[in-house]
Structure formats: C-alpha cells, structure tokens
C-alpha cells in the first residue's frame, strides 16, 4: 500500500461519495423528511477517506455524532445509510440509530457514541483486546477538538499511553473560524491552551499535526502510524486541521453553492463570486485532490466526470429507495434490548 494512481483515485471516489451522501441528507432535510438535528462531514472528507483507506479489514473504527463520512468511506451502503437517516425499516440499523449512531460491524464500525468524548475510550478498549490477544489489528477513534474538554477522553489517552496500546487518535480540529464565533454560532473548543497537541504530548504520546485537506499527507501519516502501532510503540495522535465549510451553520447546514460541481477542479473560473468562493477554490479537499490527480496525469477530466456520473446515479436511486422504504412496525421498538445467547 503506497501513494500511487490507484490509491489516489480510490480516495477521491470515497471522498466524492461522502460529499454526495451529505448533499442527499441536506436535500432530504430541506424536503421535511429528515427530522431532528444532524451533523455533516463536508470539508473534512480528505481526513476520513485517507485515514480509512490506510486501514486493514480487521481494524475497528469508532466515530461520533458527525459519522456519515466515516460510514461511507469505510464501505457502508449509501441507500441503507440514507434509509437509516429517515428512520425506515430497511435502514442499516433498522431505524434504531438514525444519524447520531450510524454503525455496522460488517465494515468494522461496531458502535457509534454521540456522547462527546465517547469514541476515544471505546477505541482504547478495542486496542486493549487486540494487544492482549496479540492480533495484528488496530483501533481508530475519530473525534472533534471539543472532545479534549471531556475528562473521559483524557483518561483514555493516559490508559493507551500507559499500556502502549495500538490505537490511532484522529482529532479533526475544525475549530470554529471567524464565521462561527462572531455569527452567534457555537464557540469552538474552549481549552486553556492554544496548542491542542500539548495535551497528548504531556502523556508522552507520539503526536503530529497535519493539514486536514491534504489526502496524500494524511494517508502516509496513517500508514506509518499503523506500522508503529503494530510494533507495540504505543498510541499515535494525529491532529487534522480543517477550515469550517462555508455552509455549516451549527445544527442546520445549507448547500451554499448547491451540489458540488467536480468540474470546478479544472475550471476554477466557473466558481461564482461570494463569501464562500474562497473556500470552494482553496478550502475544499475534493477540489484539491481532483487538481492533483489531473496534474499528475493520473486521471483525465473525462474519467473524473464519468466516475461522478455513476455516483450521481447511485445516490439518486439511493434517495429514491430510502423515501419509498417502509416505516418500521412500532412493535419492533422493544426488540434488540438484549442479545440472545448463541445456541
């Protein structure tokens, strides 16, 4: 596994699929089909896709309330994911989980907690079991910068560092830029220090900070981290710094420029001029990787457009199927409270 044409193209497809999923979610919400508040991953696709592409099938992934991207990047079925957002019976979790708890053990994503600081300690537990059983697997925890304000996640970092556990902490630091703090939005992380990475470093944890929109950098970092973890050299903490997507207004995101047009990667002048255009041109990780693929001669505009077209079909059908899917029968509400012992 190394950075080459196939890997870069595979990551671009995962990122585009993550973007289309969120666009479908926003459209379903606008149509009144998705009630309750939800969190989209737009702008952070490179971090999720690159790190997940570096994993092996046996590795386990733990996410948070902002989990749609991780589910899709790890190979979750888009139609069943959308059906779950709409609370339908054919949803991947039969309507029990919804947007906050999307998960599927079949793709190594067994449990998604919506409690801030819930992902790191769960991942540490999985890594504890892998190390104990000497199995060549690692656990990854994705979480936002806010999670480091919770004592629970710091207890997890101490445990992992203490017993040199094979866990990769990925802190997606989308600390609220100017837009959030002034516009009456929600303040980002409130931590006494400016440098977030000082916290894991104080536990003698290998800590690195990366540009969260640069897929290649993150992919290489994740590969080397996995090797170090399997060699028993203790946990690794990666901070992926991203800029908040222009359309993210706390709990009610909006497609400020409508669905993403992949062609803007090679036709930047088609981007309309307004407050969000700077982000589309320089902040959007999808555009950046698209440009890199073309520059390296690893793909032509036509090939990217063809891939995009196929994904549009997938998501059009997916949304269609989700809207048409049956509601779960209320009597199912009391099922799965306890698991049956294997006979």
């Amino acid at each position: 596994m190394s950075w080459n044409r196939d890997t870069a193209l595979d990551i671009w497809c995962r990122m585009l699929s993550m973007r289309r999923f969120e666009e479908a979610a926003i459209a379903l919400h606008a149509g009144g089909h998705l009630t309750g508040h939800y969190h989209v991953y737009i702008g952070q696709e490179a971090t999720g896709a690159a790190v997940i592409a570096a994993l092996q099938p046996g590795d386990l992934l733990f996410s948070t309330h902002r989990n749609h991207g991780h589910y899709i990047a790890r190979g979750g079925d888009p139609a069943r994911g959308l059906a779950e957002l709409l609370g339908r019976a054919t949803g991947v979790n039969s309507g029990m989980a919804g947007t906050l708890h999307l998960c599927d053990p079949a793709i190594g994503m067994p449990h998604t907690s919506a409690i801030v600081g819930g992902a790191p300690p769960a991942a540490v537990g999985a890594a504890f079991e892998f190390a104990r059983r000497k199995s060549p697997r690692i656990a990854v925890a994705f979480f936002g910068d806010g999670a480091l304000e919770e004592g629970l996640s710091i207890e997890a970092i101490n445990l992992a560092a203490l017993w040199k556990l094979p866990v990769l902490f990925v802190c997606e630091n989308n600390g609220v830029g100017a837009i959030g703090a002034q516009g009456g939005g929600f303040p980002g992380s409130i931590i006494g220090t400016e440098r977030l990475t000082a916290i894991p470093e104080s536990y003698a944890v290998t800590t690195m900070s990366y540009d969260g929109t640069h897929a290649e950098g993150l992919y290489r970092a994740a590969l080397s981290a996995r090797t170090q973890l399997l060699a028993g050299k203790g946990p690794v903490f990666i901070e992926a710094v991203t800029r908040r997507w222009a359309g993210s207004q706390g709990l009610w995101p909006e497609l400020v420029h409508g669905p993403t047009d992949v062609r803007q990667a090679w036709q930047p002048d088609t981007v309309s001029e307004d407050a969000a255009s700077d982000w589309v041109r320089t902040g959007d990780p999808l555009m950046r990787l698209g440009r890199d693929l073309l520059a390296a001669g690893w793909a032509t505009a036509g090939e990217l457009s063809a891939l995009d077209e196929r994904l549009r079909q997938t998501y059009a059908q997916g949304a269609e199927a989700a809207l048409g899917a049956p509601w779960p029968d209320p009597s199912r509400a009391t099922s799965h409270v306890f698991a049956e012992a294997e006979r």
């Binding site: 629970l152 710091i154 207890e155 101490n158 931590i191 220090t193 944890v205």
Partner: protein, 336 residues
Amino acid sequence: MAPSAQVLGISAGSTAIPDTVTRDEAVSLYACMVLVRAFEEKVRRLHAAGRVPGLPHLCTGQEAVAAGVCAALQKTDWIASTHRGHGHCLAKGADPAQMMAEILGRATGYAGGRGGSMHIFDAENANLGTNGIVGGGVPLAVGAALASTRLHPGRIAACFFGDGAMNQGVVLECFNMAALWQLPVLLVCEHNGYGEYTASDDVTAGRLQDRGEAFGLPTRDIDGMDVMNVWAEARQAAERARAGGGPTLLICRAWRYSGHHASDRQDYKDDEETRQWLARDPLLQQRHLLQRDHGVDARELDDVLAQAEARIEAATRSALTAPEPDPALNSLRVHA
C-alpha cells in the same frame, strides 16, 4: 524513587525562600506539624485498639505540605481536602477535639458522627471538607474560587489531591477551566508515589508536571518534605492568585509513612526506599533548621512537642467521653 531533591529533578534550595523569615514564623510551622503528627499517631493507636470504626487514612510524613500551604492562606481563604485530610483540617485551624469526636463517631463531632474521618467540614475556617471521592474536592475549590471573584474579591482557594487523582477526568477538566478563566486557586498535588496500593508510575503516562502546562497552567515541582520550601512556594502562588494572576499547580514530592489506611501493612513498598524517605522526616528537618538558623534550643522545641501532645491528649479524653449520637436525628437536615 530516590529521595534526594537533585535526583528528583526538583529545584533544590529553591530561590523562592524569602530572606526575612522570622523566628516565630519558623517555630509556628514546626508547632503545626508536631500537632498533626501527634494527632495522627493517636488515631493510629486508637484504631489498633479497635476504638475507631471504619478505615481512617493517615497523613503521617506529609505534614509539611499541609502546614506549608495553609500557613500561606488567610482564615477566610477556602480549602478542599481529601480522604487523607486530618493534617489539612488541623493546619487550617480545626479543633482537634471536635475532629477526634467525629473520627470516633460521637455526637460532638464536626458532623455529629455522620461523616467520620472522610467527611469533616469546618465552615468557620472556610474548610469545604475532607472528601471520600478521589479528586472530588478539586471542583469544589475551583467553584469557590469562581464565587470569590464575584462575591469576595481577594479571597482565594486551595485544593489538595493525590498523584492518583491526576488520572481522574474531572481533575483535568478543572485544570482547563482554572487556566481558562484565570481563577484564584492553588492546585496542590501531594505526590506520595502511590494511589492506594498501586505505584503511581505504573498507572501514569508521561510526566505529571507536563499535564498542567498542557492546559496553560503554571506548574511548580517542589520538595514536599521541606516545610520552608513548601511555605515559600505557596506564598508566591497565593500572592499571584490574590493579585489576579490566576492559578498554580504545585506538585509536592512527599512520602506517606502510614499505609493507604490504618491497617495496611504496605508490603507493596520496598524497604530501602522507605528508609531513605524516613531520613528526610519533615519534623526532624525543621527542628534542625530552627536550631541552626534561628538559635532555638532543644528545650524550647521539646516544650512545643509537649504542648502538642497535651493538647491531643485532652482532645482525645473529651472525645472518648462524648455521648453517642441519637439515631432519631438521622433524617434531620437532609434538606436545608
């Protein structure tokens, strides 16, 4: 963990000691430590004789931290203590008789027998109480400091916690908030090397000193067996807090001569290490300093010792003869 200051990487002979230490100030620090030692020794013997219910936790060996920090505080400054808090309470001015009565579960105790050793409250000396939960007292003191910034400017708070508590999430959350809001609080970690029976180094990743700085918290790593050193560092931190300069994390390296609780044989410690720490007994160090630097003769020091023991004897006699509490009062004061 070898005891000498250099090996510990502590600033030996800290520059913080002011030169104008008066004789009386140095003697009163000694008197406070001697009182605490006598009190704990009496509790140990009473427990061995089966007179003390439950499992009291003794602070023998850590007297310098209690005496040094409380000497830097005013009567109205808040403190929050731990399950090993007899020394903190006495150093802050609590009455030994009411404390002993509480430890013996008698009606005249600070909590009328309801709390016992781990729940001694002394509002008159702004003591937010000893506490049964590891790290439980830290947010209480941080909260009191927050209240003081609004209601009684100039009043500060101090909380004590063990190195074991440095792994509790709530303590680290408090580091963050104290630094974030520049609260007037002294965060005093009594680093005695052990969380209950487990050596702290076995359960603590990285260096404790770095955990404060990670949250932007000024941190001092000092010799907790030298009461003059503790007192000087605590005074500096208290002055800065009172002037609005924000919190300080004081890590005091110390050693508890007693077990985790009164009937713990401490078989988890190795003898050589214990012997070395015994040689650095805070009471002996201060006694030596008083004779060498302040010309105090042995007779006067023995008087201080005798007074302390007499005071503890009297307190114990009154506690042993105090009445048992009346169970009918159990449900009183559940609500204010």
